[in-house]
């Protein structure tokens, strides 16, 4: 079971075309990369800035499309899906956590966590409220449910964002530098939270980070350099 690949990247390349004056400049971010993420895995993607880590994450999450190659999520090729199908897939099977919490500022912690459940009319208001409440409780935020994002600390905001990512019980959590904007104590709390989630619920987690300490807490480290897979280390 655990050896089954949940995400597959097959010869994926990504080029960006930018206009500079009248001239079109094509930049290759990922020349050709292939790897698998296994179900229940806790993987860190590391590498220097500009190496293409975040692009990889967006490709895996269907937020961006590869120039060539295939991205397969749970046996379904997502690189060819239409925008609406991708939105449905992101909502049902994936959870995102970003470097900045990106919570909706006008809504309370509870309401932010409810949003993915309410999108597409997936859950009723009461169901969403109940589950969001449970999730925040699990992440130690039961006394902050009514607080707006600006009334929470950086660590608390990030935990709310993780609760939101978990809202629809996704297959995979994709996190982009989730501790990049936190003090060391809050960052430690987030590392532990991810480890715990992976250990207890077998949640598949992919984290992009350049924090070596965080990466060392995962089970596998994919090191990217200039858009290529430089090393693939299993830690356990």
């Amino acid at each position: 079971m655990t050896n089954e690949a949940i995400i597959k990247l097959e010869h994926v390349s990504k080029q960006l075309a930018m206009k500079d004056g009248g001239e079109e400049i094509v930049t290759t971010i990922l020349p050709d990369i292939s790897f698998d993420i296994l179900r229940g895995d806790f993987t860190a993607i590391t590498g220097p800035s500009g190496s293409g880590k975040t692009t990889l994450l967006y490709l895996m999450g269907g937020l961006d499309k590869p120039t060539s190659g295939r991205v397969i999520l749970d046996d379904q090729e997502i690189s060819s899906l239409k925008e609406e199908e991708l939105a449905e897939m992101r909502n049902a099977r994936l959870g995102f956590v970003y470097q900045f919490h990106f919570l909706l500022p006008e809504f309370s912690a509870l309401e932010n966590v409810m949003m993915p459940m309410l999108a597409r009319g997936r859950s009723s208001l009461n169901q969403a409220k109940e589950r969001a409440s449970d999730l925040l409780d699990r992440l130690g935020l039961s006394d902050k449910v009514r607080n707006k994002p600006n009334q929470l600390s950086g660590g608390q905001q990030q935990r709310v964002a993780i609760a939101r990512a978990l809202a629809n019980n996704p297959m995979v959590i994709l996190a982009d530098e989730p501790t990049g904007n936190l003090d060391s104590q809050s960052a430690e709390m987030i590392y532990d939270l991810f480890s715990e989630l992976n250990r207890e619920t077998r949640q598949t987690i992919v984290v992009v980070t350049h924090d070596e300490h965080f990466a060392s807490k995962t089970k596998r480290i994919l090191h990217i350099l200039d858009g290529k897979l430089n090393s693939d280390r299993i830690l356990e």
Partner: protein, 423 residues
């Protein structure tokens, strides 16, 4: 069910608007003022037109039969070609200058026999010179049967001074319209002189002063039929006009047609008589509505402005919503809801303000200039729930149209660009 399942979209829309309180307030104000101005303008124009029509219908004849013939009288041509001269004779033409209804009692009884007719009042009309003290002015004088004419022009309820019944009992009495009385500065019981077209001077006593509110009537004066015929030089069986009131106003056209067929005298409905005035009213209304349309359009720009700013400012939130699986249509709906929310709240406030403004305007006393067609003590404002419904629908449609562009822009937000901080 739709409301319930889109509750979260409604809340996103609502809270984003609430987040920009000042701009949202100004936009609401724009819509409110637009709706208020539209409602008030419609009420004013409709009130004037309806008030005019109502007064006409109440105290003006529904059909006027005049001496003019539908088909010209056939000349009895006696043509002789002696010495190359042609002579045409037309019999029974006594006064060429004035067309009159001959043998009016016969015509009157013919008209009265129509079951659609309620009241018939024959009268004569003459342009004379009125004199009082040093003042002399041309006036139009009507000879009437006071009790019959009262059924049509409702003089008795508009008496400013004197008793209307006194006119019938005073053979030399004259009833003056309020404008004429003011011009001559005469009072009840005063004697004034009337110079007939023939040059004869008649002395008459002011038996009453009347104000109907229709200046066309208040500019005239009235004497008994017999005196009117004498002054105007009419024979006892001649009348200038026959005024008619019908039982059912929309059928006045039919009555007029029947009279023309049966008597060959021209019969004119009040609509035909007032056609140019009604057309003028409608043209002015059109111009007013056109101008008010722009007020609402400007309010629409306000809606577009607040939504464009919201979409730009909330690009990151839109990107997040998309990344967690919101559909394009859901994003579009958020901003359409914002447009409708602003419009509905703005229209509701505009309706309340419009209602208050109509009440205030209709209570403003208005001095009659004497120049207008219909005078009234207050501004005649129309009151119809449809003004509010139509103005609100219009504001909502304009706001929705204004929201379409920003909503589509919101749906086009590329989450990757935003999340990477490229925008």
């Amino acid at each position: 069910m739709i409301m319930k399942s889109n509750y979260h979209l409604f809340m996103i829309a609502f809270r984003q608007l609430l987040n920009r309180k000042r701009q949202t307030f100004l936009t609401l104000l724009g819509i409110s003022v637009g709706v208020m101005v539209l409602i008030t303008a419609v009420s004013l124009m409709d009130g004037l037109l309806q008030g005019f029509i109502q007064k006409i219908v109440d105290i003006a004849p529904h059909v006027i039969v005049s001496g003019e013939r539908v088909k010209p009288p056939v000349p009895d041509q006696l043509v002789t070609s002696r010495n190359g001269t042609h002579v045409i004779f037309i019999k029974n033409i006594s006064r060429e200058e004035q067309e009159v209804i001959r043998n009016y009692p016969r015509v009157e009884s013919l008209i009265e026999s129509d079951s659609l007719v309620q009241l018939v009042s024959p009268l004569v009309s003459t342009d004379v010179i009125g004199m009082f003290g040093t003042i002399s002015e041309p006036i139009r004088l009507f000879g009437i049967f006071p009790s019959k004419e009262n059924g049509i022009e409702k003089f008795s309820s508009g008496m400013v001074s004197g008793n209307y019944g006194a006119l019938e009992r005073t053979p030399d009495g004259i009833l003056l319209g309020t404008t004429v009385a003011k011009d001559f500065t005469v009072r009840l019981g005063d004697r004034m002189q009337i110079v007939a077209p023939s040059g004869t001077i008649y002395s008459v006593r002011v038996a009453g002063i009347v104000k109907t509110g229709i200046n066309d009537i208040d500019d005239n004066c009235y004497v008994n039929m017999r005196l009117g015929q004498n002054i105007g030089g009419f024979s006892p069986d001649e009348a200038s006009y026959i005024y008619i009131r019908v039982n059912d106003l929309p059928k006045n056209g039919l009555v007029a047609h029947t009279i023309e067929q049966e008597t060959n005298y021209k019969a004119m409905t009040w609509e035909q008589k007032a056609a140019s005035v009604v057309a003028l009213f409608k043209m002015i209304s059109g111009i007013v509505y056109f101008l008010v349309f722009f007020v609402i359009m400007v309010a629409g720009f306000g809606v577009a402005n607040v939504l464009i700013t919201n979409v730009m400012e909330k690009a990151r939130d839109i990107a997040i919503l998309k990344s967690i699986g919101f559909k394009r249509s859901e994003i579009i709906l958020v901003y359409l809801i914002q447009g409708v929310l602003v419009a509905v709240i703005g229209a509701a406030i505009g309706c309340i303000l419009g209602f208050i403004l109509i009440e205030i305007m209709s209570s403003i006393p208005m001095a009659s200039s004497g120049q207008s067609l219909v005078s009234s003590s207050h501004l005649m404002m129309g009151k119809n729930p449809m003004y509010f419904v139509m103005a609100s629908i219009f504001a909502i449609v304009v706001s929705l149209a204004a929201a379409v562009g920003p909503s589509r822009n919101a749906a086009r937000v590329n989450p990757v660009e935003i999340l990477r901080g490229e925008r």
